[in-house]
Structures are given as structure tokens and as C-alpha cells.
Symmetry: C2
Subunit: 251 residues, 2 copies
């Protein structure tokens, strides 16, 4: 389905050559790519053409510009988020993963927490089965990895359900929100995760310190208690360059 | 976490006002947004500022420019892809979905198929447990919805496993590849899906006819037989603006 090479504009051919060099390992993550002057000399092209070629790699998220230092191959060393942890990984571990991930000893930390009570937004009221005007407990958190923000999470729980529990406090205690829900007979028994991806808003770019050409993944997770009551909606915004999401399930 | 309004540059404030108008329903999907001239008059700004404001909505995938006609609110009317269909939806259907989706009577069609045999790429050989140089059957398909391409799929199966079966043909017959695998004692019993998102390559943009500011979602699905043998790897590339992915699972 690719265009044949000779129809491509020059900058695209140079960009393709650079991508091939990255894919073959000639340039590894963190390496500096040839600069505009190098490309002008190697390919006999104008500065604008060289700049466009490097721009392609940046807009595709393969490389990133660092001010005054050049354009560097981006490090994709993602967190692996397992959606369904109850399924024993060992049981199905015979096939290796396509996207090798190194998450051992890498811990997410919460660097911002805000807990409040507010009228439920309409979509949240709908999902939680609340009446218009009903209140929710809103827990907003930002998660960082090695100092870099990677995840924004906003959790909504019916205020009438969680009033007086530690869920209303910044520190929910051992086991977190789900352990507290269990104590009030609302332990999550089933989850629905819905995923989308889009380009970030300016606020999301700032909050997640996103490089150019980086989408966000949106996960909306609804937790249901054993009696099928929805007890929590969690809207998450992930730096797409920092995550591989994994779901394991039986046929 | 948002900047306070008065610190924002003018084009950002105009863009935010337009986004609010979209979110509130003042402009619905398919509606034309105010043009540069309208914004110049309404906000008393220069053409470049008006253009930048409209550019924000386009880069965030909220709106798209149509040549000579203006900038229009994009229609996000996604396909819902259920990753785990064995779980009865009715059982957990009490909470409504955040992203309402209309997939009734919408059928994906395959408009391009290509079947070939090739040496397995290294990552595929690793995942399928093949030796370097081993061959795979490669099934490439493009899926369209209402004439718009939404999904590219490349499926790899060990050539030694599927030789002589209808999996090697364009039309795999009733029930498709998985039904044929069942007939040779290699029925998929377990799946692993790994998801990422990034900006598309130029080839992907062309093959999926993507609008500017649209990421792709990559799904790598590995199918395992009952004896834990990996029997298929399917690399999918999805138009992120066309999909909501859903995974339902028990705690």
C-alpha cells in the first residue's frame, strides 16, 4: 500500500532513510540524529528540505528536538499496564511479548492529590446511575515515573456512598479506595474499561509534559459491585509514549 | 492544573471558547465553526490569531478543515470493539457507557486482502517461538466502514502449521482463520492483546485516509492454543478517531 519510492518528495525519502536507520539500530534510543547541515551535505538538499525530513520523525514521535542540542531518537521504554491481573501470567507466558517492557523496580508515585465533593457531571451521573444534582466524591491524582508525569486520574464515587469513609481523605489507607469500598459492602467485582486515543489538549500537554507528536490514551474504567451497582468511574489520561496496555483473556 | 485564563495567549482563549461551544452542543458534529473573518470581528484580533485558534481545534482532533469550505466539528461516532466478548454484556449492563456508541447495523467490510508466505520478521518469530529463517503465512487486510478505511490488519501464522489449509487462501471459509485452526487442533484458547498509541506514519495516514491530528492505536494480538502454543500474531493499526475499545472483566 506504500507509494513507490520515486514518487516521494525528497524530504520523505530522507525521512524514510532515517527511520530505517533507527529501526535497524544504527541510531539507538537517546542517540543524536544527523543535523540539518549533515543532511544538506549527505543528500545535497536545501536546509528547508533537511528540516522537513527531521520534522517528519518528530511529528511521528520517533525523535524529539532538544533546544540547541539537535534531534534525538526517542526512548520508548514503556510501562506495562496489565488490565486483567487475576489471570496468571505464568500460565500463558510461553510466547514472548512483541513490545518488550522493563517495569521491574519501576514504581509510579502520586505527586498531586486533590479530593473534593461536587455535583456529578452529567456523563458521570448517567454512568453511576445518579439523579441530576447528586454529589460525587472527586479524587484527582497525577502519577509520575522517574520524575516524569505519565498519568492523570480522576475518580468519581457517589458521595452518599462514601461519606464518612477515608475515601474522602487524601490518604485512603492500606489497600486504597477498593479496600475501603469492600468495608462498606461495595467491593468491586467487575470492571469495564473503555479506551480511546486522541491528541492532547493544551492543558493535558502541560500537565503530562508531553513532547510534540505524542497522543494521549483515555481510559474510562467503571467498577461494579457484586450486586451490579456501579460504584466508581475513573477517567484516566495516559501519556501514550509511556505505556503499553495489556489485556489477557480466554477465548 | 490548568493555567489561569488571563495568562493564556489570545488564540488559546479563543480556542477554549470554541471548545466550550462544541462541548455544550452549540456546534454539533458536522457543523461549520466561525471562520477567520468571524473570529477577527468577534474578538478584535488579527487574522493570524484567528487562524491559530482554529488550528488548535484541528490539532486536537476536535475539528477538521475542508478545502475552501471552512473548519467543521468532527464527527466522533466510534465503532465499539469489545475485546472480551465471552462475558455477557447483559449481566453487567446496568451502568451506562461513557462513550455512547452506535454500532448497530454497521458492518466492517474487507476491501483489500493479500495472502503470502514470507520469512518471519524477528519480532514475529520470537513471539511465535519460531527459528530464524522459518516461514509464516502473512494475511494482510484492510477494513472499511461506510467506505472509510478504519483498520489495517496483518496476521502471521506459522507456515508449517497452516500449509494446505484454507488459511493460505484469500477466502478462509465459514468462521474464518480461527475455525480453520480448530480443524487442525490449534484452536485459540487464550488471547493476549497489547495496545499502544502513536502518531501515524505517512503510509498509515494514506492507507487509513486519516485527518490531521489523528493518532493510530496499535493492537498486537497473540492467540494461544489450549497447549499454550502461540499460533497467531495479529498486528492491527486502527484509526483512533473511529474506535472505542472495550474490555470487560471480573475483579
Amino acid at each position: 500500500m506504500a507509494d513507490s519510492d520515486d514518487k516521494l518528495p525528497k524530504y520523505r525519502r530522507i525521512a524514510d532513510a532515517l527511520k530505517d536507520a533507527v529501526n535497524s539500530g544504527q541510531y539507538a534510543a537517546g542517540d543524536r540524529l544527523p543535523g540539518e547541515n549533515d543532511l544538506m551535505e549527505t543528500y545535497g538538499v536545501a536546509r528547508m528540505t533537511a528540516r522537513q525530513a527531521l520534522g517528519v520523525l518528530q511529528s511521528e514521535g520517533i525523535a524529539e528536538a532538544r533546544k540547541g542540542a539537535g534531534v534525538f531518537v526517542r526512548d520508548f521504554r514503556p510501562l506495562r499496564r496489565r488490565g486483567i491481573q487475576r489471570l496468571a501470567e505464568a500460565q500463558w507466558g510461553s510466547g514472548r511479548s512483541i513490545w518488550a517492557a522493563d517495569i521491574d523496580n519501576r514504581e509510579l508515585e502520586v505527586d498531586q492529590v486533590d479530593v473534593s465533593v461536587a455535583v456529578a457531571p452529567e456523563r458521570i451521573a448517567d454512568t453511576l446511575g445518579l439523579e441530576p444534582g447528586d454529589s460525587v466524591c472527586v479524587r484527582q491524582r497525577r502519577f509520575v515515573l522517574d520524575g516524569k508525569p505519565v498519568l492523570l486520574s480522576t475518580s468519581y464515587l457517589p458521595a452518599a456512598l462514601v461519606a464518612g469513609t477515608r475515601i474522602m481523605q487524601e490518604d485512603t489507607g492500606p489497600g486504597g479506595t477498593y479496600a475501603r469500598l469492600a468495608e462498606i459492602d461495595a467491593k468491586p467485582a467487575h470492571f469495564r474499561e473503555e479506551l480511546r486515543s486522541r491528541m492532547p489538549t493544551a492543558d493535558e500537554t502541560a500537565a503530562l509534559q508531553l513532547a510534540a507528536g505524542t497522543p494521549v490514551i483515555l481510559i474510562c474504567r467503571t467498577a461494579f459491585a457484586q450486586d451490579h451497582r456501579p460504584v466508581e468511574v475513573n477517567e484516566m489520561t495516559l501519556d501514550a509514549a509511556s505505556y503499553v496496555l495489556e489485556y489477557d483473556f480466554d477465548a
